[in-house]
């Protein structure tokens, strides 16, 4: 191909598709390259897409039955010990009206659907015949001239462009190649996610989880779920399946010599979980690395001349205890990247200072504001007192509090004292409380 593109996007995940949609609407000529058989073919997530940016990309998406699985109006955070669960549960009709604030997605379906929407936007643009979504192509190298990105090499062919958006996901080999990330990234702040998709008769699923129409539930787990390894568990309701899995700190997994797939089976065997998931049929097992949201390992600079990095390739992810946010960050950062590229095209300048505007807008967006503000929460959630002792303590208290015996009942305060004594110390709790108050 002799023609030069305004932009080449590497990766048709949520970030790449968000960027592509924005470029198409801004009448830009671009190439979106995806290594999978189709957009979404290689993508795995928990996963809830939080926030309502999706409505910006696909207005009234809720009127369609395709793409997304369920909207979330029911949240649950569960503390777990070996026998018990103690949950904070919130459900509200407040979340029932679109635009929804969270939708559950299965990426193989969602990304493919979103790519179809991008194709529609391409068809409506001035470059209907010149912009492309190209699956099944692996980008081997970013072409650099005088340290400026000028295109890509794939399958032995070279494709040229004024700019490149790297949306290649967490295993960001090209981000490393261009020097924005170290060649070797250690396990310290990475987690391995493992997940099963379990299928049910749709009516059984809806009755079991109290779902109505397209409503859905998200449930996160702390404690016994991860068998002593730092991390947590999740369960999300899809249309006629559930996504159930764990994210496990990789360094801790290595030190404790544990197998992620074994821990997942232990989690499924837990008496409360076993009751919840009984009768289903496992239809897929998957795994993927996910970043932790710890700023210490994020690439410091997300741009260079002719190039910007977005989504998980930039390690944009946060779990501050309220929700695991990654896909919404991917979408927004993809949109911001495309806006920077559009402005650069207008100004005819794709140099380093023009690309820096992307990082500036990202810093001023809710993404970096939240990542910066909630670093203490990220550290707190990886504290063993929080991930192991607290869930045990809470479940111990729950067991006593909810045990009705035909004998005098101690005051709750006494029960709590006993539970603290058995699982932690006051000093640990004071430290944790102080950290928590500061972090959240």
């Amino acid at each position: 191909m002799d023609e030069k593109f305004d932009c080449i996007i590497v990766g048709a995940g949520v970030a790449g598709l968000g960027a592509a949609m924005t470029l198409a609407r801004n009448n830009m000529k671009f190439l979106l390259i995806e290594k999978g058989e189709f957009p979404g073919a290689k993508n795995v997530s928990g996963g809830v897409l939080w926030g309502n940016d999706l409505a910006k990309l696909v207005p009234n998406y809720w009127e369609e039955d395709a793409g997304w699985d369920r909207f979330i109006n029911h949240r649950r955070l569960t503390f777990m010990d070996e026998q018990s669960t103690f949950s904070v549960d919130f459900k509200s009709s407040h979340f029932n009206e679109p635009p929804y604030t969270g939708v559950v997605v299965l990426r193989s379906k969602f990304d493919r659907w979103l790519a179809d929407k991008v194709q529609e936007a391409i068809d409506a643009s001035d470059y209907a015949m010149d912009s492309f979504i190209a699956p099944n192509i692996l980008v081997e190298e970013i072409l650099l001239e005088d340290d400026k990105a000028v295109g890509i090499k794939a399958g032995g062919d070279e494709f040229y462009s004024d700019s490149v958006i790297l949306a290649e996901g967490v295993n960001n080999l090209l981000t490393r190649q261009v020097g924005l990330q170290d060649k070797y990234v250690p396990a310290d702040h990475m987690l391995t996610g493992v997940k099963e998709i379990i299928r049910y008769d749709q009516k059984v699923l809806e009755d079991r989880f109290q779902l109505n129409g397209k409503s859905g539930m998200s449930n996160e787990f702390v404690g016994y779920a991860t068998n002593g390894v730092e991390g947590g568990g999740f369960l999300y309701t899809n249309k006629d399946t559930i996504s159930i899995g764990l994210v496990l700190g990789l360094k801790d997994l290595r030190e404790k010599e544990q197998k992620p797939h074994d821990i997942l089976n232990e989690f499924k065997k837990h008496p409360v979980i076993a009751d919840t998931i009984r009768g289903g049929e496992v239809v897929e097992y998957s795994a993927h690395i996910v970043s932790s949201g710890d700023k210490r390992v994020m690439p410091k600079q997300l741009y260079k001349a002719g190039l910007v990095v977005c989504g998980e390739a930039a390690n944009l992810l946060l779990n501050a205890g309220k929700a695991i946010q990654g896909m919404d960050y991917a979408m927004r950062s993809g949109i911001l990247a495309a806006e920077t590229i559009t402005e650069a095209k207008k100004a005819g300048d794709f140099g380093e200072s023009a690309m820096k505007k992307y990082q500036d807008t990202l810093e001023n967006s809710y993404i970096m504001k939240d990542i910066n503000n909630f670093q203490d929460a990220v550290h707190l959630l990886h504290d063993p007192v929080m991930t192991q002792k607290m869930p045990n303590l809470i479940c111990d208290f729950g067991r006593n509090f909810f045990s009705i015996k035909n004998e005098p009942t101690p005051k709750s305060r006494e029960m709590l004292k006993g539970a603290i004594k058995r699982h932690a110390s006051y000093w640990e709790l004071i430290k944790l409380g102080a950290k928590g108050a500061k972090a959240l």
Binding site: K109, L138, L173, T192
Partner: protein, 100 residues
């Protein structure tokens, strides 16, 4: 519900180019490092697809056929034994997720 073994789980996965017997491996492992200086041989337990195994003599072996491209080994190996690339769409292995 019945718990699945890892081979049963991997049996649910759609791998690419399964009809091809001669695929190009996307991960190369220098098992000499695993079997000489590595203190933990961690890939033999952290890999979610069990692509790394230990034989009866404790020696590490690697096969790429079951790899699901998760990336775990690339970070877990701190000994420089793992060279990790994405699989070639035409002549490599790797996955196509049905749900994802």
């Amino acid at each position: 519900m019945k718990l699945l073994s890892l081979p049963e789980r991997l049996g649910l996965i759609s791998y690419r180019n399964q009809a091809k017997s001669d695929i190009k491996p996307h991960i190369l492992v220098d098992t000499d490092i695993c079997n000489s200086t590595c203190p933990h041989k961690c890939t033999t337990y952290v890999c979610p697809a069990n692509c790394y195994t230990k034989d009866e003599n404790g020696k590490v072996h690697f096969q790429v056929e079951d790899c699901i491209e998760c990336g775990t080994c690339m970070y877990a190996c701190d000994q420089g034994a793992v060279s990790w690339e994405f699989p070639d769409p035409e002549i490599g292995r790797g996955v196509t997720w049905n749900y994802g």
